[in-house]
Symmetry: C2
Amino acid sequence: MPKPRYQRRKQDRPQEITQAAFAAFAEKGYTATRVEEVAQRAGVSKGLMYLYFKTKEELFKAVVKSVVIRRIDQLIDTIESTELSSEDFIRGPLLSFMKQLPGSPVAIVIRLLISEGPRHPDLVDYYYDNVVAKGIGAITKFVEQGVERGEFRQSAITELPQLFLAPVMLSIIWGLIFKDRPLDTDKLIETQIDMLLAHIKA
Amino acid sequence: MPKPRYQRRKQDRPQEITQAAFAAFAEKGYTATRVEEVAQRAGVSKGLMYLYFKTKEELFKAVVKSVVIRRIDQLIDTIESTELSSEDFIRGPLLSFMKQLPGSPVAIVIRLLISEGPRHPDLVDYYYDNVVAKGIGAITKFVEQGVERGEFRQSAITELPQLFLAPVMLSIIWGLIFKDRPLDTDKLIETQIDMLLAHIKA
DNA sequence: GTAATTACTGACTCACGGGTCAGTAATTAT
DNA sequence: ATAATTACTGACCCGTGAGTCAGTAATTAC
């Protein structure tokens, strides 16, 4: 028969389904997304969904974990191996990293965690440990490095690495709520970096 | 009969119901909250809910609108009538205002708008016009006032009033997702103000 | 007091969507 | 080819919760 109605693709299904689910959740949020709809997007039947994920909630967890950015590990590696001065590193690689966050999947994950996080403390822990703590830790370590090198002075910022992330967070939330209203997120982030550097430079 | 089973209180019901609904939404979010539960909290039957609000969605809108902080108008009035220098005003009334936001109902509304906003563009507009635009406008106006007075110099910050709100936003989101993990939001906000002032003082 | 009014109740309906499973057809083994 | 295996389908089940409404009792009018 020339037209098999479907192919067996056990290997690829999970990925394809989580990808489809991520797209759907991004558009409608977790609750408003129907399992049937994810199935359609992934090109499978509703029944198959439940062969790969026991429940909708389990699918949800798989989706969130699937977008844990490994880029953060990249960034940490870069910090450790860079030969740039602290300031140049901040104005270069770190700034680029920060600028792309508002448009990245991280924004969606933030939305999902705000909506559904309270019902999934384990997921929140997971994200905190693997993304937030790492990111905060990297920034802290980096600032301390700058102090050791004599480029930066001691200041409150060593204990408040969140100040680097504040404009990123605002940009993300702004984008989530006020999608269409303009905001120059790049300039916002740049200006914050300017201020921070002015504040800690030795 | 000494024990009437209920009292008729047409006047107070709407308020009582929206208050109960706000509390419930704050705890569980919109979708996970059952109309029946709000009814119980408000001490009325489920049926009565529908005499005051045609649908659950309409109740939702009423709730969000009910917490549109009039405090923002207060703040604007204060700006216009203050005799403090620009810096003193920022370090005083404005700082206090900012510090109390993360623990205020605004945080809840942010959560609700992130979760449900995409399905209620009119509500988003309403909130933007009556809270965000006003707040942003007030800060902008105030900074410009400082420039006119010669206290501040021209800078990118005039066009980026969101820099004032960035640490507030981060504090709010942090509180929503990582409820229990400590963050010194007051210090975060204070330090941002310090930096901003250092950056724009003439 | 009694009647008229209406705020309020709670048992009901019904659509919706998560989850199931007997059957089917693609694949693999023989 | 044929049988054995199993990835996959889609019609079905059933709990849940939004929304209804006929009836009830508190209030008001007389």
